[in-house]
């Protein structure tokens, strides 16, 4: 298996070449285009299922497994959000990803979903994906990805943390001292401490969701 990032930058895409016997696993709905030799197997299994059911309003809790019947069969995978796609080589030490940051992985990697937020604080919890094992993990961000080497303390708004190494301690806390509420959506920050890398994205999904609110249709009372 080898891969290439097409159109690097804002609208990057992941192109994977598969030989017979190779396999790439991805969440449902990420295939953009592919050669006819590519075969798909859809399964409801996997631990991602729990995350999907619990968090994403039952959108899709299926995982797709792609293989090729010919040498060098190509498939292109993309994320929903505009932003960078990057690959990370895992060698045992777990990496923690924000839920929207997971794109795909090779068979040696395992992914698991966890809730990590302030319990009872609606919609502001921190749902994260633990990735561990040995292999390649593909992740994406909303915006550009900045790598921050944390030595000591660092604060990142909940909406902007993409991924971080498990060697870092982190706590989810509230900002500000006066009027801090759900009114403006950034009630929560992640405080990192220790040594390790944090990847930060340059835009927030919560911020875009707030902007889009008035453009959504209103649910009728009868339905």
């Amino acid at each position: 298996m080898n891969y290439q990032i097409l159109a690097p930058g804002t609208f990057s895409a992941l192109q994977v070449s598969l030989d017979p016997g190779d396999k790439i696993l991805t969440e449902a709905g990420t295939m953009a285009w592919m050669d006819p030799s590519i075969q798909v197997k859809t399964s409801s299994g996997g631990l991602m299922a729990g995350l999907r059911r619990a968090v994403l309003r039952g959108d899709s809790f299926f995982q797709n497994e792609y293989t090729s019947t010919a040498q060098g069969g190509k498939i292109t995978l993309v994320a929903g959000q505009p932003g960078e796609i990057k690959a990370m080589e895992l060698r045992g030490a777990p990496v923690i990803l924000e839920r929207g940051a997971y794109l795909a992985h090779t068979p040696g990697v395992s992914v698991d979903a966890k809730f990590n937020g302030l319990k009872g604080f609606f919609a502001e919890g921190l749902f994260v994906v633990y990735a561990t094992g040995e292999g390649t993990l593909f992740y994406n961000a909303y915006g550009d990805i900045l790598e921050v080497d944390v030595q000591g303390d660092y604060i990142v708004d909940n909406g902007y943390a993409v991924a971080w190494e498990s060697s870092l301690n982190y706590t989810v806390t509230r900002t500000g001292r006066k009027i801090r509420t759900f009114l403006f959506g950034d009630g929560l920050v992640i405080r990192f401490s220790g040594h390790g890398k944090v990847w930060v994205q340059s835009r927030s999904a919560f911020s875009l969701a707030n902007f889009m609110h008035p453009f959504r249709a209103i649910e009728s009372k009868n339905s």
């Binding site: 097409l6 159109a7 930058g9 804002t10 609208f11 990057s12 895409a13 969440e27 449902a28 709905g29 990420t30 295939m31 953009a32 285009w33 592919m34 050669d35 006819p36 590519i38 075969q39 798909v40 197997k41 859809t42 409801s44 968090v55 994403l56 309003r57 959108d59 899709s60 299926f62 797709n64 292109t76 993309v78 994320a79 929903g80 959000q81 505009p82 839920r99 929207g100 919609a123 999904a205 919560f206 875009l208 969701a209 889009m212 609110h213 959504r216």
Partner: protein, 219 residues
């Protein structure tokens, strides 16, 4: 007439300078800014019935904007509603197929028509009709995301939301993905299956993909 595509690939749009009497046609609502003495007219592309057809079935606007300069050096900016790439294409009698929403602007001499995507396309949610551009002249179309040009030789499969345009030398059908289970649950919906040889313009993001991601953050 000078038409420049600027801010590609992320925010492609057109910076236009018209000479006296020159005209450019554009998608409804595309004007971002202009010199105040440009004259605006509206036109039903291809006449009333084709325009009405495109409005009803393809969700395109009924009328296109037609901007004409009264003096030399009139400036006009045209923008698509979504971020992405704008492609300039010179149409020389050979038609070009566009997915609905991809048309941005054209010179006089280009006509737009409508093609039915087949019954299955009705369920894809991506628009079941495609636009066929014919005639001679410059045409500008836009994508959501970066554009990848791909030469098809044989067969090629694309999620319907990732197609921007293709040459009609290609045969195409709208089909499901893999077996019935995968069609229903793979999250891919329907795909366009191309065969033959010709060029297809692909986009690296889709509006339904964007909506699917953002839905997880909506309250």
């Amino acid at each position: 007439m000078s038409v420049q595509v600027v801010s590609n690939p992320d925010f492609g749009h057109l910076e236009i300078v018209l000479d006296q009497g020159q005209t450019i046609l554009c998608e409804s609502g595309a004007m971002a800014a202009m010199d105040s003495d440009l004259q605006l007219d509206t036109k039903m592309m291809g006449g009333f019935l084709p325009a009405l057809w495109r409005k009803v079935v393809a969700g395109e606007s009924l009328l296109s904007g037609v901007y004409t300069a009264k003096r030399a050096g009139s400036r006009l900016w045209l923008s698509p509603p979504i971020p992405g790439q704008v492609i300039a294409y010179s149409l020389q009698d050979k038609p070009l197929m566009l997915t609905s929403g991809s048309f941005l602007a054209c010179e006089e001499g280009v006509q737009l028509g409508t093609k039915f995507g087949g019954l299955r396309a009705m369920f894809s949610g991506e628009g079941m009709f495609f636009i066929e551009a014919r005639g001679r002249g410059s045409l500008w179309f836009n994508s959501y995301g970066a554009v990848i040009e791909h030469e098809v030789n044989g067969e090629f499969i694309v999620d319907t939301g990732h197609v921007v345009a293709w040459e009609p030398s290609l045969q195409w059908t709208v089909t499901g993905m893999g077996n019935l289970f995968s069609t229903l649950f793979s999250g891919e919906g329907l795909v366009l299956r191309f065969s033959g040889s010709g060029k297809v313009w692909l986009q690296t993001r889709s509006m339904s993909g964007l909506a699917g991601w953002l839905a997880g953050y909506c309250r």
